[in-house]
Symmetry: C3
Subunit: 266 residues, 3 copies
């Protein structure tokens, strides 16, 4: 296979306005909602144990991000993940800084038990998650790309899910097929929570194209790669970059993804 | 009556810098504070049961929004609403997604018992609130404008309060007089939490003009209608729209509202 | 002494990418993270008692802001402050609205017991903190600059820490040396949580230059003064100001601080 139907996946999001239930960190909430709205999806942020499962059943997809966890939120996350698992609602897990504390590792293991459809993280986070099953080791931030790649594939196979590992170059795998995505801009890591927003965007794409999850995940990542590249051409710094990125996500068309040259089999 | 003193209401906000106590959702906090500051009001966000009533007594108005509720926050909301009711401080209720879960319906009924001075919501939310008293039914999102209009009037009469129902066209009523407001821009629903920020802005206007609440609510809604229209003329997408909206709210003058042609008796 | 090595302090931040653990209010989280990233620091927001001390030990500095406190957060703040105190990690205290409620005064006293390295607040907040030790009096918002100045010096001496009191003109003291900083722009108070972001930036500078804390605090304040001035030249209102400020913080060079003329001995 030499390509993926990225433009079909974007068209599906823009046509169906998928409702994405987000349980994410406080820093990311506003920018995540704005990225989803810019792409044509419909965000909803709510987390209380009293209502969270009831809402997950209404949503097209669920995105869980553990950036600012606490006991009450962890309970809501697990109830939502279980509801998604029970109803077959696609859900995405973003294991922010899972290597930093034991609390995050315990919470992540509990969430992985509810079988996420996709995991989105940076190389450190993916390697930590992959390692949790083996020996509970911490993360080696200086790991080579090859090591991280192997960890992503192992994690995808063990969990039976998609893995999107993002950074300067992105790597996407379902355990069998692997893809690299190149694009974006050097200012992206200078704007907070773009990775968190991408995780929720992956959920929107899965909601809109449940029958082709690999293409859906790749299209979400490619959308940020293209929009990031364009935003970088207009930006004088991270402030103007963030504004231009939302505009570029809004202006993105399926044709843009048809012409995208940054996808290659890995 | 063929008009309302909108410009007087804006002038009063800009002259008195009303302190607005906001208990709002996590997504909306930053954009709400920035809209209030741009308009010339002074925002304060706090919610803890330990301090919330003490602070409500200091504020010129209170705005409560249930977008991301939880048990501890619901307790703070009720204490603040009761404090506002007791001290005659105007308060605004924003029933975000009240139709989505039973938890929100129960919380909304508890808050309505503290007699908000104004309710700001979209058509679905207003219809759900109006229906809570009758049969507790969910919301019919496909309801016609005429049905929603009747619900808004019924809600205003039952609660003895102002109702601002916003959307492509806005409808404002105190149960006796009804007004339409036209303006804004198609990009507004692509930026998150502008409705939430408008609710807090309604509170700022009520604080500054307590003796003319209908004009105050209409002026807040008209301010967003005018600023939204101007922002839309400069925007390339939702990112630049949000920036331009804050600038336009800041630049808004009483003269702008004198010249506003989008207000008509309904 | 007629100057301070401001440019060295900025260079140290840009060279070392200090990890700043922030426990801040919900309104400020996103803008704080973006200011830190723009300056070249690395932000991390987390607050849960289960993990907070473990993380503080990893961080280069800690910043605690009580803008939206609650019981669970207050516990996390105290655990983090104690961890910082034990490990000698520099930490900054931002006593938002400490004069407004008794709850904030009690929490502030508990945090002061953990010996912050710097306190950043406006004149009212600094005067309230200074008064807590004497008679627990509230704040006199109409206090003269001279009264506030004396309070800041007294607070610095009593706590053995740096105090940065910011407003139209900023005042920095370690109890012995005192400096004024002039700069910024009239739009700064029209953008929410810039003071909160400055407090976290002070923490980043302390992490990068632990051996010259007075210069570090002054350089953080001067960075905002210079960037604010530049942003104001391009801004049409608070929306475009905020964007331009992030760009200006990103573009700031040590040379800019060498040429800064707004620092004078007080």
């Amino acid at each position: 296979m030499t390509s993926l139907p990225l433009s079909d996946a974007l068209f599906a999001v823009q046509r169906t306005t998928p409702l994405v239930h987000c349980i994410t960190n406080y820093v990311a909430m506003n920018s995540t909602a704005n990225c989803l709205l810019a792409m044509g999806a419909s965000p909803a942020m709510l987390h209380a144990p009293e209502e969270v499962a009831e809402f997950t059943h209404l949503a097209g997809a669920l995105s869980i991000n553990i950036g600012t966890p606490s006991a009450a939120w962890a309970e809501g996350m697990q109830l939502a993940a279980r509801a998604a698992q029970e109803s077959g609602t696609p859900w995405v897990f973003d294991p922010v800084a899972v290597g930093a504390t034991r609390y995050r590792q315990t919470l992540s293991q509990a969430l992985l038990a509810h079988d996420p459809d996709a995991i989105r993280g940076n190389t450190s986070e993916i390697m930590t998650l992959a390692g949790l099953a083996h020996a509970g080791r911490g993360v080696d931030a200086t790991a080579s790309i090859d090591e991280a790649r192997a960890a992503a594939i192992a994690l995808a196979r063990r969990q039976g899910c998609l893995v999107a590992m993002t950074g300067e170059r992105d790597f996407i795998t379902d355990g069998q097929q692997h893809w690299y995505i190149t694009g974006g801009h050097a200012l992206m890591p200078r704007v907070t929570t773009l990775g968190c927003a991408l995780s929720a965007t992956v959920a929107a794409f899965l909601a809109a194209s449940p029958s082709m999850p690999l293409a859906a995940v790749a299209a979400a990542v490619a959308s940020f790669a293209v929009a990031g590249q364009r935003a970088g051409q207009q930006a004088a710094g991270p402030g103007s970059f963030q504004v231009a990125l939302l505009d570029a996500l809004y202006q993105l068309t399926p044709d843009d993804l048809d012409q995208f040259t940054g996808l290659e089999a890995a």
